[in-house]
Amino acid sequence: MSEPADLVVVGAGPAGMAAAATALAGGVRVVLLDSQAALGGQYWRHPPEHARALVATDDLHHGLRRYRALCQALAAHRTTGRLDLRLGHHAWSVVREDDGFAVHAVDRREAPRETALVLRAPRLLVATGAYDRQLPFPGWDVPGVLTVGGLQALLKGGGVAAGSRVALGGTGPFLLPVAAGLAARGVEVVAVCEAAHPRAWLRHPGPLLRNPGKWAEGAGYAAALLRHRVPVRPRTAIVAAAGGARVTSVRIASLAPDGSPRPGTERRVEVDAVGVGWGFAPQLDLLVPLGCALTDSADGNAVVAVDGGQRTTVPGVYAAGETCGVGGAALAVNEGRLAARSILADLGAGPLPVNGRPAAPRSAVTRQRAFARAMALAHPLPPAWPSWLTDETVVCRCEEVSAGAIRTARAEGAHDHRQVKQLTRAGMGWCQGRMCGPAVHCLTARGRAYEPAERLVATPVTLGALADLDETPPAPPAPPVPPVPPASTADGETDKECP
């Protein structure tokens, strides 16, 4: 791209794609980067381009028409040169500079070779999504115990089913599409253990009634599960897993209202893979060091605080999607559009030459956020989950720190996960507390929202790549234009609300 960009978008999932498409439609120049090899993020994860014809995944997706329309819109802007699309690029740091932001990234398209480079623009949109929130339990580190998001990524990204007899556990509506997807691939889903009580939804009927699309989506999964005879067991949890080189069984227990296992209800179920997910934790690594204020969300996570136009508290920085609170792809798309509209307005660009009322995304965002909040309140972490842990249960897997060691640190006065880290090394390893952070937080400071530790390095990067950046000032070549994604629909991207 010869001319400087007006906007860098980090993350090409639903929020980032929609934001980039809307901003491009408004006439600005955009750099869109994502660590994956294909557009779509986790929600619209696809096999790599060269394998797509061989691995059918369309039936696993929801809202594919929208995905393809966004892909088409972005492809058109690449042709005009106004979109600089950088797939396979990981952002490891973002810093403010005099006239905007510098996104420090590594190009990993030819991994393991990495090339560090810097992408600059006066505006920054962070749409880095979220990842599975995990709660430890005895045996969660046995091979074959995965996150539900991991199971889904294997299915969508490679058509791979992680096992033939699978138990799913945790809480939240995300368990259902994963169960349905596995069942559709011939996997025997022996149980879906949902910790929440279905009646919890009835406490918040308003948002449910105002989001019929969500209701219909849920009903669709329920029908699929019924068809495949997948048992969904409310008020239960996977409280232990066992196995050697590979998981062979799980223990499932009914839960008392506080989330503790009801005595005498435990039963052993043979499996060869397990998927667990307790909602999601937003990926805030780029936003926290910039100084963006955080706020509490209903699911126990701190999320980035944004105004009605998706502006963070740092001028020039916008956020959309799960970083602002977990709420699903439809909300993410609308937040992305809303953010792009704010960016266009703040850049002084003219009115958007697209159809649709300006207020449409904002009202959709409000409605869908209310739904997300109701969803979070209906699927809380069971307060008594720590009762599943023995003192020997490993909580931080990277540094092999046990629940007992964390309890000792707490008894010695450590009152948050940062302090526990200093005293026990929990969260100091390879994943930097991304896995164990929420759990350590719950074990030491329950009642407050989980704020992740500040991570100045958002993804590991080789010292050699950084050293080269020091020695040769940046002049990154524009990546070659990859083939345009298949256009199976003639729909252009419009401002219609998501189904």
């Binding site: 100084g291 991570r455 080789t462 010292l463 050699g464 020091d470």
Partner: protein, 388 residues
């Protein structure tokens, strides 16, 4: 009657002051607005160094401190805070640097530091880059895990009767003679005190001001890089000879001089940058890439090793780059113990012993106030008591 002492600051220096004062039988209360070791203590590499210090008041304190770290290790168990006498290796990058380094080492030896000339540095560190002309090995250099050390010292102090109170200091309460009688907290509480120890590290200037005894303590930002865990590859604290120049420098701009070392956890730490930017916490990627480049030049294998995280902190320094340890003549009862710059971990036990000696009015554990007059706050004051 037992002397009542309030130690302000639960970093490694405050914890060491509490440990020694409580061991000496004084009535000790430690207060900090945060938990133990949450400030600059948690932001360093855990250096216990003699190698980087030129002969003078700081080296005198460092030599005592090195002995006291071994004593603390003997008393509390060296593994409780990962005390490791790994030794330092300072390498020169060219013949001129080597000559300067050897001259520096000779002066240190004359002051009692063990320093050994090394012609083939790869005999000590096989993964160093080829072609380095030589260096100096300092077998006394050591490392501790600073937060664990602060926590262990504070726990030991509590065993000797000390108390820990979380809270922020608002000011000193003084009697009619101007002597301290207590410390007022931001919550409005008064902690009775015959003496107050200002061990607030980088915030020592502000705490001194609140106590009516201001000292100039300024922040100097530093970044440390942490790699992925590896099998042991770097045995010593290895640094380039230009670090010695950087420590003593007053330049405002960015300086980096690379220090590379392994840790018990398998990670490799790469320091250390020095910037005078106030308390600005923002990431400086230029520092990170510069440190990476310097580390890769020393140890080429690091090119393929991942940077896993980076952290930064604020070293507290006084205008003359010496710590300020001793009673403040303006407010009887106030004793300063701050401004240790990048050497606070290493100097902590001796600082604690020296503060205790000042409080007792007699030497304590080898710390004789008469031998460390160069660290007194008087050096910043005119005879009338006003700042110079």
């Amino acid at each position: 009657m037992t002397l009542k002492v309030v130690v302000v600051g639960a970093g490694v220096v405050g914890a060491a002051c509490a440990f020694h004062a409580a061991s000496a039988g004084l009535d000790v209360t430690v207060t900090d607005r945060g938990p133990v070791g949450a400030g600059t203590t948690s932001r360093g590499e855990g250096n216990v160094l003699l190698s980087d210090k030129e002969p003078g008041p700081e080296l005198d304190l460092a030599r005592l401190s090195r002995t006291l770290w071994d004593e603390v290790g003997g008393e509390l168990g060296p593994d409780t805070f990962e005390l490791e006498a790994k030794g330092g290796l300072v390498v020169a990058s060219g013949p001129e640097g080597l000559a300067a380094l050897q001259e520096f080492a000779a002066r240190q030896e004359a002051a009692g530091v063990r320093a050994e000339r090394v012609d083939r540095v790869r005999d000590l560190e096989p993964h160093l880059a080829p072609g380095l002309p030589g260096g100096v090995h300092y077998p006394q250099d050591a490392q501790v895990q600073p937060v664990l050390a602060a926590a262990a010292l504070l726990r030991a102090a509590v065993r000797h009767g000390a108390r820990f109170r979380q809270g922020e200091v608002a000011g000193a309460v003084t009697g009619r003679d101007g002597r301290v009688t207590g410390v007022r907290t931001a919550a409005g509480e008064v902690l009775p005190a015959d003496a107050v120890v200002n061990a607030a590290g980088t915030w020592g200037g502000e705490v001194g001001r609140r106590l009516g005894a201001p000292v100039e303590v300024l922040p100097r930002r530093g970044f440390v890089l942490v790699t992925e865990p590896l099998p042991p590859m770097v045995r010593h604290k290895v640094y380039s000879a230009d670090y010695v120049a950087g420590v003593a420098s007053s330049d405002a701009g960015l300086e980096t001089s690379c220090v590379v070392e392994g840790t018990r956890g398998g990670t490799i730490l790469i320091g250390a940058s020095r910037e005078r930017v106030g308390f600005d916490t923002t990431m400086n990627t230029a520092v990170v890439t510069r440190l990476a480049a310097q580390a890769c030049r020393l140890f080429p294998f690091l090119r393929g090793v991942h940077l896993m995280r980076a952290y930064r902190g604020f070293r507290p320094y006084c205008p003359d780059h010496l710590p300020v340890v001793g009673p403040d003549p303006r407010v009887p009862g106030v004793v300063h113990a701050c401004g240790h710059e990048g050497a606070g971990i290493g100097l902590a036990p001796a600082t604690g012993a020296l503060v205790t000696a000042h409080l007792l009015g007699r030497p304590w554990r080898g710390a004789d106030p008469a031998a460390h007059t160069g660290l007194l706050p008087d050096r910043f004051l005119t005879p009338g008591g006003a700042p110079q």
